[in-house]
């Protein structure tokens, strides 16, 4: 009982303390500053675009992992989970090595097109996709696994191709898991700090997202950082509410 109570307090007290120490008078001012609005807008836009890419690329990958038996499936699944356990700052360094101006992919890309990812909003999206992809893939793979594959058989006997079956049967049946994975990945993307700041720096209006803004603001203005953090807390609670059927209420 006591450890359980301690654990609960440990999780709860910081959040309550944060809300309690918020300067409500100054809050509207903090949230409507140009830097805050820019960062919030950039965070929402990049996270949403990133999650769209995660779905586009992650859904087929999840299906492959869940439904197709091939050599190296275990290795591929392990690879997918790497960003989950990798320190985000290391992810940033790794992305730098690949997509930086002198990186393995980045250097030829710069030569041919004149485009480089680092220090741009595209770079922010790239970092988000890298760290969020595992959440999306793993959640959807789980949902696909729990969906009865005999429905796929039924679709095949009715003449459906793999693609039709995937689109009209497999994904709709796994939809709750797909939604959960999407929301989870989006929330992870919104909170992404380490990879983003390492890969893209912290340029207001271009690569400064909410978490990086909170980090720099806190060094100068604790109250403003609190107000910004409160917004992120509200988003997190929103995510929990969106997923309540998925997590809460199930024993």
């Amino acid at each position: 009982m006591v450890p359980a109570a301690l654990a609960t307090l440990l999780l709860l007290v910081p959040l309550v303390a944060m809300v309690a120490s918020t300067d409500w008078q100054a809050l509207p001012g903090h949230l409507t500053s140009t830097a805050a609005l820019d960062a919030l807008r950039l965070s929402l836009v990049t996270s949403t675009i990133a999650i769209a890419f995660c779905l586009l690329l992650g859904l087929p990958l999840a299906w492959l992992l869940a439904r197709v038996d091939f050599r190296g499936r275990g290795a591929l699944r392990a690879l997918v989970t790497v960003p989950l356990v990798l320190p985000p700052v290391v992810a940033g360094v790794a992305l730098r090595s690949a997509f930086g101006r002198t990186g393995v992919v980045g250097a030829p890309l710069l030569d041919w097109t004149g485009f480089a990812f680092p220090f741009t909003a595209y770079g922010v999206v790239l970092a988000h996709v890298f760290v969020s992809m595992p959440f999306v893939v793993i959640a959807i793979e789980g949902a696909l696994r729990s969906a009865d594959p005999r429905y796929d058989d039924a679709a095949a006997t009715l003449g459906a191709t793999r693609w039709t079956t995937f689109r009209r049967v497999t994904v709709p049946l796994a939809l709750p898991g797909v939604v959960a994975g999407t929301v989870l990945g989006w929330a992870r993307s919104l909170g992404e700090f380490g990879a983003t700041i390492t890969f893209n720096g912290n340029y207001p209006g271009r690569t400064q997202t909410m978490p990086t803004l909170i980090y720099v603001t806190r060094q100068a203005d604790q109250d403003a950082a609190l107000s910004l953090s409160l917004v992120m807390l509200l988003v997190s609670i929103g995510v929990l509410i969106a997923l309540r059927d998925h997590w809460l209420g199930t024993p």
Binding site: D153, A154, A155, A156, T157, L158, G159, A160, P172, L175
Partner: protein
């Protein structure tokens, strides 16, 4: 296209069965649980690995991908797509084969109409009763106009009254169906009322094939004998089949042929029509029908040792192996 089906299917450790079915024919597949009945259907549909061939008008079905086989499978437990309406479920096959939505829905609506459930077109499977869902499942398979229709225990899990109604309905659709139909069932009534021929599967192998009346009269497996309510006794190279009401029960050893008398303990007694049906643990287990009066008079209770005998004239005697097989 209507052509005969010549199949020889081998599924590792499960099925090793050869058979032919004529166009328009309904072949019932019966056998005990685990005999490989469902596996046989799934092999024809392409859902399990199988060796051998299944020639239909010169084409080997086993060489085609599942979706090109033109085989309609009605799954055990229906497997209607839970997120689609009844109409969309029935239209699914045609849509998958490239029909436009209006064309597919028109055909689907027609099929629902034929099954008398057009008013349920907009319902999701969870809003359908067992009988309704089964009708949708059969309509879904038939809507794609398959060459081969496979029905896997279509009446299992339904109320008895629903089973009767659906059986009559299915019989009508099977008569109109020009292709080949295979019906897996564990109910003798299905085999007797719906099938043109019966294939008895035992441990994955074909134990017997023939018209329902012949299989029912001269069963070659104890499973079928039990299904049709016959006693079946092996006697050398021969089998002897006789009805329970042809069995005489006595407390003392009867006279007559030793081949036609058995001794054993009563296992159970249960009312059966006007009679009382005894299950006697002789070798093998035998059924005997006696009048309630006789049961009382003889003091027949479970555990009681009794003698059973049958008149030679009431016993049908036939070879254990059909000619050649």
């Amino acid at each position: 296209m209507t052509a005969r089906l010549e199949a020889d299917l081998r599924v590792a450790d499960r099925v090793d069965a050869g058979f032919t079915v004529e166009p328009g024919e309904v072949l019932a597949v019966i056998g005990p649980n685990g005999a490989g009945k469902s596996t046989l259907l799934h092999a024809l549909a392409g859902l399990v690995d199988v060796e051998g061939h299944a020639l239909l008008g010169g084409t080997d079905l086993l060489g085609l991908p599942v979706r090109e086989r033109r085989v309609g499978l009605v799954f055990q437990g229906q497997l209607l797509f839970p997120h689609l309406t009844a109409l969309d479920n029935v239209a699914f096959g045609l849509r998958s084969r490239g029909e436009s939505r209006p064309a597919a829905e028109a055909v689907a609506r027609d099929w629902l109409e034929r099954f008398g459930i057009a008013d349920l077109a907009g319902r999701k499977p969870r809003e359908l009763s067992g009988g309704q869902a089964q009708r949708v499942a059969i309509a879904r398979a038939l809507a794609t106009d398959p060459d081969v229709l496979l029905l896997d225990e279509p009446f299992t899990g339904l109320d008895v009254s629903v089973q009767m109604a659906l059986r009559i309905e299915l019989g009508r659709h099977l008569r109109d169906f020009p292709g080949i139909a295979l019906l897996v069932t564990h109910d003798a009534i299905d085999a007797l009322t719906l099938a043109d021929r019966v294939l008895v599967l035992d441990e994955g192998r074909v134990a017997q094939v023939g018209p329902p009346a012949e299989v029912a009269a001269e069963p070659r497996t104890s499973h079928v004998a039990r299904l049709v309510g016959l006693n079946l006794v092996a006697d050398g190279e021969d089998l002897m089949a006789f009805t329970p009401d042809a069995v005489v029960v006595s407390l003392a050893e009867p006279e007559g042929s030793t081949r036609l008398r058995w001794h054993g303990q009563i296992g159970t007694l249960a009312p059966h029509g006007d009679a009382v049906r005894l299950l006697v643990h002789a070798s093998p287990d035998l059924l005997a029908d006696v009048t309630p009066a006789a049961a009382t008079e003889l003091g027949l209770v479970p555990g009681r040792e009794v003698w059973l005998s049958a008149k030679a004239t009431a016993v049908s005697r036939y070879g254990a192996r059909p000619g050649g097989r």
